[in-house]
Symmetry: C2
Subunit: 263 residues, 2 copies
Amino acid sequence: MSDQFWGLKTFCLLTGGSQGIGRGFAVEFARKFGVGSHMLLLARSTPGLEQTRSLVKSANSDVNVQIHSVDLGKADLSVFKTILDHEDWKGESFDLMLLVHNAGSVGRADQLSKDMDDPQEWNRYLSLNLFHVTSLTAEFLRKFPSGHRCIINVTSLCAVKPFKSMGYYCVGKAAREMYFKVLAEENPELDIINYSPGPVDTDMVSGLINQIQDEETRHSFVSMRSSKTLVTVGETTQKVIDLLTSRGYKSGDRFDYFDPLPQ
Amino acid sequence: MSDQFWGLKTFCLLTGGSQGIGRGFAVEFARKFGVGSHMLLLARSTPGLEQTRSLVKSANSDVNVQIHSVDLGKADLSVFKTILDHEDWKGESFDLMLLVHNAGSVGRADQLSKDMDDPQEWNRYLSLNLFHVTSLTAEFLRKFPSGHRCIINVTSLCAVKPFKSMGYYCVGKAAREMYFKVLAEENPELDIINYSPGPVDTDMVSGLINQIQDEETRHSFVSMRSSKTLVTVGETTQKVIDLLTSRGYKSGDRFDYFDPLPQ
């Protein structure tokens, strides 16, 4: 694995790029990309993607940005293959290929785990939060079978710690993180990091506060918001940039916003 | 939570009761049940279930045993509701209600994680290894809304440690264990244990040795079998019995065969 991460001619595919953490990552990562880099942003919302594209172009006009509106919970291999074979970068070679799995949903936080009993609801939830992640990863690795390939999985404290009223999210994040740990174990040449961004002040938190059934968990978010202890998108983006710069993690590791940076 | 676990009038539902660990648990648990207990065994194989029933009856003729052949990967809520409403124990009350989630499959060990890219395969795998577990748990808790309800989730080291060529199994076990951790967090009155039985010498291990793609993982199983360091069904059954007798775990905990028993 190369010592250099930034300033390279990079191909970057990022999911959930229309808002929140995804937008923050896209803009600040692009700022550090080298000439000839390409960024491909996926999400459902076209207006959101367009706004992110415009912010990315302002941050670094040397980066070619493509956006693609797609419902990741319904996309299959052929969709990802078509997207990755886009003519804009066909035949191009890159010094770094970066895949950022940021898209995800919190699931039905109005349901407690004893009522999470419907296989179809599970299938829907995991299609967006796990299954498409594996399909996209597979196509990405087929498209780029060698070279420095880095995969960032946006995970959560919920992957390792149960929280009331967040059953789907906890299960989905635990499953997704384990998938990347196995991928890292099987493919030591890959550069994989499970990054937990901390409790970031995004629309997901607003949604949770409105929807969540458990009062204790709701209160913890309300209280973090009012005491301004929620992490900002800027702070968590800077932390993952510093982590990637450090090259100080082992592929497959989990790293949390509150962890000290590797020396 | 009561101090006594064995000798009570118990209702026990156990999945995967036709062979291996499930059969071992069924027979030895039943031996310790009180008069008037009922045991309901689910699995696909009717001959296997019949054999387990006969072993259970030999161990303790005071236990009423029902068997039900069902493909758990395809069962839904209504199937579980019907099974749980069986007239044999309709209106009966029990001192202990025990649900043992033992059924599970190893998944396509011939596939490495970079090829685990098919949402339908994921859906099939998790239907058997996660989704039905949530449906059955939900119906069990509706049928028995109060009293000492104990749930044993048969988990694995794979839930917390990635193994090459065992991607589906690792992801499924990680997801399932997190589901039970959330359930325990949300329902402190329940008695839930995630029990990892160790590498037990069952048909699953034989299947793995034949099918697994990664040589390192295959070798570790072959070597454990030839050096007789695989755990026997009898040993792991005794360990979980000792653990349940001790009452020395916190609901939602994970306990491995190799862990020392709580004092």
